[in-house]
Subunit: 405 residues, 2 copies
């Protein structure tokens, strides 16, 4: 597997994209279009929030057709809590794209992100769609990745190549996150393209499984969004023999590539969480089951007290153990050891559930780095999991106290 | 039922208390002693965090004896994650109190609050216990309430009187909260005394039920502490006929008094949450079951995004609906209406799941007050519940980024 330099969602063969400003946000790009030359197998996962946005309701139904050709994504307006008009605006958006691209509107998947509770201004949307369609290009991936950002501070995109038989298959993707990030099915918005030939059913298998280990393992603020969606489009232009079954050659390779890409995109969302100054990886091992490990890791990642302590560079391991303790998973508190690590070293702060009498100075040196690892070892079994979050700073409060203004 | 002016945990007959500084905290009082003239019926509820502090483990076992006479509470050190030595220090604390007061050590209930992971300095504890015992007085309730505070900014105490038969029964109490507040059984620390004659079993019934509606309905930061404990002591000195059964005269009266007191103490904890600038009551009605109403209300109270919006005085109702949506309770999003109220008025911000086009100016006026009510009406049934939290400010981050230093 290789990471492509400058790779994006348009790196796979046959994909073009554009990102434009149509006035949903004050100045920044706010509308992205991603189009494949030919129809694609599609798979997707969505928020489990029962207050799901109109494009989520629309997209859930759409992907049952298993085929799609274009993605249209707007930032600045979530089209959530917008009732029937919202749903009809999602449909209208797809129709506008279909008309401009001269493809069936049912091949167009709309997504939205931004503020909840306002109707999409369809005149601006139309103008943006027309403009974006005229700018579609193979090099347009970065513009699209820019156009889906809300409070994100940097674009999130990557592409990988993998060999399947004698063919090179490329997987590209982009995501956006920042706030209201505590995915329960998928991140706020994630998009993956590939030129791999693979059926929609196989793609769905991969995406559902990969999401559990990547996007569903990050948290910024514990708030599960109304708009979480992850779509994967595969157009088959790499020319490999179509993957129709988990036992087919190439299934493992494309699984690994999609996993690696989704993991990267998920971690970048955690790193760029609202107000984040540090990326925190929580690795839980020694759990009885993988699900136990996941639940404990996510509970620690979800603790405001753990995250403010990391922001304050304070090795307050008691908060880590307390957060594990209220996760709902049963374990022996006196079997737990905890280490705090970074590129500056690794300090064991607790053993057998109590403090080790570690050097605070050493711990501070470790915590001053930008990427922190919290290693939590239980004594219940062999299962492990990793979750990712950011620290919790003043800026989270500042950003969210005046989000709408 | 009457609220006593200047009432405290020592207002019921036969209770004395003291609060002293013994050096666990830098300058403030950090050790409280509450003693009854005669042995009391005792009941208690505790944290469900499986990483429970030593005094919680000790207290859980102790209250099975159903009788107690003294409470000893220290702040500045939670005696949590301290292993066997921690447990033995909790026991030692009770023994020291028993020796000084010349009562059986098994009648003494120890509680701790403060930083996790350090052994109690028993020499300081002993010194504090001896000093507190020498200062015990009927007017000592406020000193005790001061001595149990950590990052609390004001003491929390109250006393009520209620008539049972021809006797006046008094109920007094104190609590502390501030951070790591998301009780799952009881608040961090709460203590209630009464001179009511009532059996320990009846008292336990009342306390378990009342806790569900009061302390378990508040949240500051979603972190369930290792030390949550609520104890109620009843010494019978009011002279009423002993309440031995829920059907006995006076059960309803003492239930109501304990409920009113616990509700008051719980709300005061939410009001004084770390960094709080506003008290938020979330009232959910129209739910299918009381449990559904409680879960939705707590989910909204637990949302960082709702709480930062309240801090920013932003009527961002979409976040309220989103937090209800991920609570796990099933409801029709398009049956929901939301109003935001305070002493400055009531503004309906959403109806049938979408915005009402309310006046932002009016909403701002409502949100500028110190006490905010979020009214969330579902369309599923008749059940309702109220939860309480504070808003989420810069100061929460400041306080928790350097808690240990």
């Amino acid at each position: 597997m290789n990471i492509m330099e400058g790779g994006s969602i348009t790196s796979p063969k046959g994909f073009r994209a554009a990102g434009v400003h149509c006035g949903l946000k004050k100045q920044k790009k706010d509308l992205a279009l991603v189009v494949s030359e030919v129809p694609c197998a599609i798979a997707g996962v969505f928020t489990k929030n029962i207050v799901a946005a109109a494009p989520v309701l629309y997209g859930r139904a759409l992907i049952k057709r298993k085929v799609a050709q274009a993605l249209v994504i707007n930032a600045g307006n979530a089209n959530a809590c917008t009732g029937e008009q919202g749903y009809s605006n999602a449909q209208k958006t797809a129709e506008l794209v279909g008309k401009v691209l001269q493809i069936d509107a049912q091949l167009v998947v709309p997504s939205s992100t931004g503020v909840i509770g306002y109707q999409l201004p369809m005149d601006k949307m139309e103008q943006g769609i027309v403009q974006a369609a005229s700018l579609l290009q193979h090099e347009g991936g970065s513009d699209a990745a820019d156009a889906i950002m809300t409070t994100d501070t940097f674009r999130k995109q990557r592409a990988l190549t993998v060999e399947i038989g004698d063919k090179t298959v490329t997987v590209g993707g982009m995501s956006k996150g920042s706030g209201m990030i505590h995915p329960n099915m998928a991140t706020m918005l994630g998009f993956v393209t590939t030129d791999c030939a693979i059926t929609s059913d196989c793609l769905q298998l991969i995406v559902s499984d990969v999401t559990q280990k990547t996007f569903n393992m990050i948290t910024v603020d514990g708030d599960t969004s109304t708009n979480d969606s992850l779509y994967v489009l595969a157009n088959g232009l790499a020319g490999n023999r179509e993957i129709k079954d988990v036992a087919d050659p190439g299934f493992g390779e494309i699984y690994d590539a999609i996993y690696a890409l989704c993991k990267y995109l998920a971690i970048e969302i955690a790193r760029d969480g609202e107000g984040a100054t540090k990326l925190v990886s929580v690795h839980v091992s020694g759990a009885k089951t993988p699900e136990d490990a996941r639940v404990v890791a996510k509970s620690i990642c979800g603790s405001n007290l753990v995250k403010t302590a990391v922001f304050g560079e304070d090795a307050n391991w008691g908060r880590i153990l307390a957060a594990a303790g209220y996760s709902g998973v049963l374990f022996d508190p006196y079997g737990v050891s905890i280490s705090i690590g970074s590129s500056a070293g690794l300090v064991k702060v607790a053993e057998q559930g109590t403090g080790t009498g570690f050097s605070e100075e050493e711990a501070l040196k470790v915590l001053q780095e930008d990427e922190i690892v919290l290693e939590v070892k239980l004594a219940e079994g062999d299962a492990e999991a990793t979750a990712w979050c950011c620290d919790f700073s003043y800026d989270y409060v500042r950003i969210n106290a005046d989000y709408r203004s």
